[in-house]
Amino acid sequence: MSSEQTGIRPPRVPLYNDPRVRSVIYQLALAAIIVFLVYGATTNAIDHLQRAHIASGFGFWNETAGFNISQSLIPFSSTISTYGTAFWVGLLNTLLVAALGIVLATILGFIVGISRLSKNWLVSRVASGYVETIRNIPLLLQLLFWYNGVLKALPELRNSYSIADAIYLNNRGFYVPEPIARPGFGWVELVFVVGIVASVAFYFWARRRQMQTGQRAPVLWVTLGLVIALPFIVLLLAGVPIHFESPQAGRFNISGGIEVVPEFAALLFGLSIYTAAFIAEVVRAGIMAVSQGQAEAAYSLGIKPGPTLRLIVVPQAMRVIIPPLSSQYLNLIKNSSLAVAIGYPDLVQIFTGTVLNQTGQAVEVVAITMAVYLTISLVTSGLMNLYNQRMALVER
């Protein structure tokens, strides 16, 4: 009913008390403050850079870097490689340690998390002792301990631990024989790839058949046969076209073989052990979130404890576990930047460390580094939201 019909006018609100007007004023004020701050910061920065004669822009990307990197997945030389190449080396090193760390931390975290719920008193106590201790000690301290306290305290080169003159362990790293392919190894690789494709196809076929007929196929054995046994047979048929090059211990260094630098090992151990403690808590919370009735119902249908855990409890727990688990993965990726403290050449160490010091272009370098981590974070959280939409309970 409008006010004209009833003859009562709504009380007149002063303009400055109108919520819509106020909201516009607040927003304009906020925008003005932010624009002012950004403008001030930019002009100051330009002023500073001009006084210090520091170049700006991304021209340094194609300049020769002129420094060495101790571990590189792609060819890198101090004399010809550019800062751009150094960036990719750092990014790949970060991704390498993060990927391996995620695998190790997940395995260890699930073991510890399930152990904390074990009926075995000792096992659950030890698991919770692990979680409480590791979670409450800073990661940086743990990394320094692994690096300086453990790996750097290993014997020197001359007194290396060695197994059969093929595997060496000393304070400069861990050396294992490197497999080198001879002609003909390509067949093995080909069969391996074909095996993976075939086993994926077999998995989908088996699943569809199970849906239609209820008959189950031995997916595990067929997969193992296709992916491992078949390439192995081809390897033997081709006359083992591969040999191992052992590391050679010289007087001053070890040449040949695959070298694992102690910085990498310390970072990998530290990250995995630290993140595993957090993953354990996530797993525990996830399993406890599945109602006890689910397991009891399974038992009453005659399903054994093993399959109950695998088919009933874990799939439901995963729905609770995955979102915090992915944020732990993100934490691990971000924490890998602590590499800078022990000198592992990751993105932060190479870029915000060496490149920043050499070029002095703080704004560009820090912006690039942050952009990389932001991209990783946003992509991961985007994937996570997709997964959540698929997995979310369909409510009535």
Binding site: S23, Y26, Q27, L30, A31, I34, G40, A41, N44, A45, D47, H48, L49, R51, K119, N120, W121, L122, V123, V126, E132, T133, R135, N136, I137, P138, L139, L140, L141, L144, F145, N148, G149, K152, A153, K334, N335, S337, L338, V340, A341, V348, T352, L356, A362, V363, V366, T369, M370, Y373, L374, S377, L378
Partner: protein, 388 residues
């Protein structure tokens, strides 16, 4: 034969028992300590194996720790000679004389010795503030909050930095170090991040698109990058962004970085609390005619913060651990002083590093574990209220 006759007949039969047997005690293997061990440690063969393996592992770890920290440790000495295997003619564990000698450095850094009483006073004032806030039955807790969030920062600044007019010589922050810096960085992060975090959380849930946009942008940006890059930004980019004549000192830059970082995380924690408040509370507040600010201040935030306390404390634990990262940008916190002391030629031995790290680990473990116990106790206390 009728029913009654039949019953009579049965009661007269002497081989039918008409009293219950006294219950026998349960088999000794099922009760008491033995029963507990059988049920909890040795129920199946796999369990027995697991128990034995874990037991051996535990004994090994505990023994190694005990061995290093106490049994093999060196307790007295003047320099590195005391902690060398060659002079002791035995396995050498922790090098405690190193810690005794360097303890003042670990606590105060290079703070001038005649002025160190000021740091002690600061520690006492801080302890009083923390106790006042955490002890539930303390008198005048509102006053305690005022003391902690307003009075303490000002007094501490005057006390630690100095104020020539009242006779306290200025101590440059370059000289600050050790536990002092760790505590200062953590406290500033804690004191600053809560109010900013609340504002950001409210901003992210605001109906004004500009406010929401900037709050979300800030939170997602800071949470998406590692703390170390935020610290790098604060230490190398902040001086560029302010006018030439106003060069912030190094510790202040680190504090800004830590405070921004902690605020973004705190904002998400508070937002979760705000989301847990039923809509009826907002509607009820509006129905009695409260505006936005009184509604938030009197109705929503008190409830939201109350249920968020455990998560806030968990964020503080993370913040406390993260303060170690200021080491990387050259601030002398506890970890940095240990890093410096452990390579000092006077004490450098194979065991010095591990001894120093053990001290730092114990320090952080005690503080963080204490905080996590407090969070858990609070959680239990709040849940008690919900159960009713």
């Amino acid at each position: 034969m009728t029913m009654a006759e039949g019953e009579l007949a049965i009661s007269e039969l002497h081989f039918v028992r008409d009293q219950h047997l006294a219950a026998q005690p349960a088999p000794i293997r099922m009760t008491g300590a033995i029963g507990w061990v059988r049920a909890n440690l040795l129920s199946t063969p796999a369990n027995i194996l697991l128990t034995v393996v874990v037991l051996l592992l535990t004994i090994w770890v505990v023994w190694e720790l005990l061995d290093f920290l106490i049994l093999d440790a060196v307790w007295t000495g003047a320099d590195r000679e005391a902690c060398l295997m060659s002079t002791q003619h035995r396995e050498v564990g922790a090098c405690w004389p190193f810690v005794w000698e360097r303890l003042p450095y670990f606590i105060y850094g290079s703070y001038p010795i005649p002025e160190r009483w000021r740091v002690d006073v600061f520690f006492v004032l801080l302890a009083v503030g923390v106790a006042w806030l955490l002890w539930l039955h303390a008198p005048r807790r509102g006053l305690g909050a005022l003391y902690f969030f307003v009075v303490l920062p000002i007094v501490s600044y005057i006390l630690l930095h100095g104020f020539a007019a009242i006779g306290l010589p200025v101590v440059d922050t370059v000289l600050w170090g050790g536990v002092l810096v760790t505590i200062v960085v953590a406290t500033v992060g804690i004191v600053v991040s809560l109010p900013i975090g609340i504002l950001l959380a409210l901003g992210r849930r605001s109906h004004m698109p500009t406010v929401r946009f900037f709050s979300t942008l800030f939170i997602e940006f800071v949470r998406g990058v590692p703390l170390i890059t935020v610290l790098f930004m604060a230490s190398v980019m902040l001086p560029l962004f302010v006018p030439q004549e106003f060069e912030p000192d190094k510790l202040l830059r680190a504090l800004v970085g830590i405070a921004l970082f902690a605020s973004a995380y705190m904002a998400e924690v508070v937002r979760a609390g705000l989301q847990a408040i039923p809509k009826g509370q907002y509607e009820g507040a509006m129905a009695v005619g409260l505006g936005y600010t009184p509604m938030m201040r009197l109705i929503v935030l008190p409830q939201a913060l109350r249920i968020t306390i455990p998560n806030i404390v968990n964020t503080y634990i993370g913040l406390f651990k993260d303060t170690t990262l200021v080491t990387i940008i050259g601030i002398f916190d506890l970890l940095h002083t240990i890093e410096v002391a452990r390579i000092d030629p006077k004490w450098a031995t194979p065991v010095t590093s591990t001894t120093g790290y053990a001290v730092a680990a114990m320090f952080y473990l005690v503080f963080c574990y204490g905080m996590s116990r407090y969070a858990r106790a609070t959680e239990a206390r709040l849940r008690k209220g919900d159960k009713r």
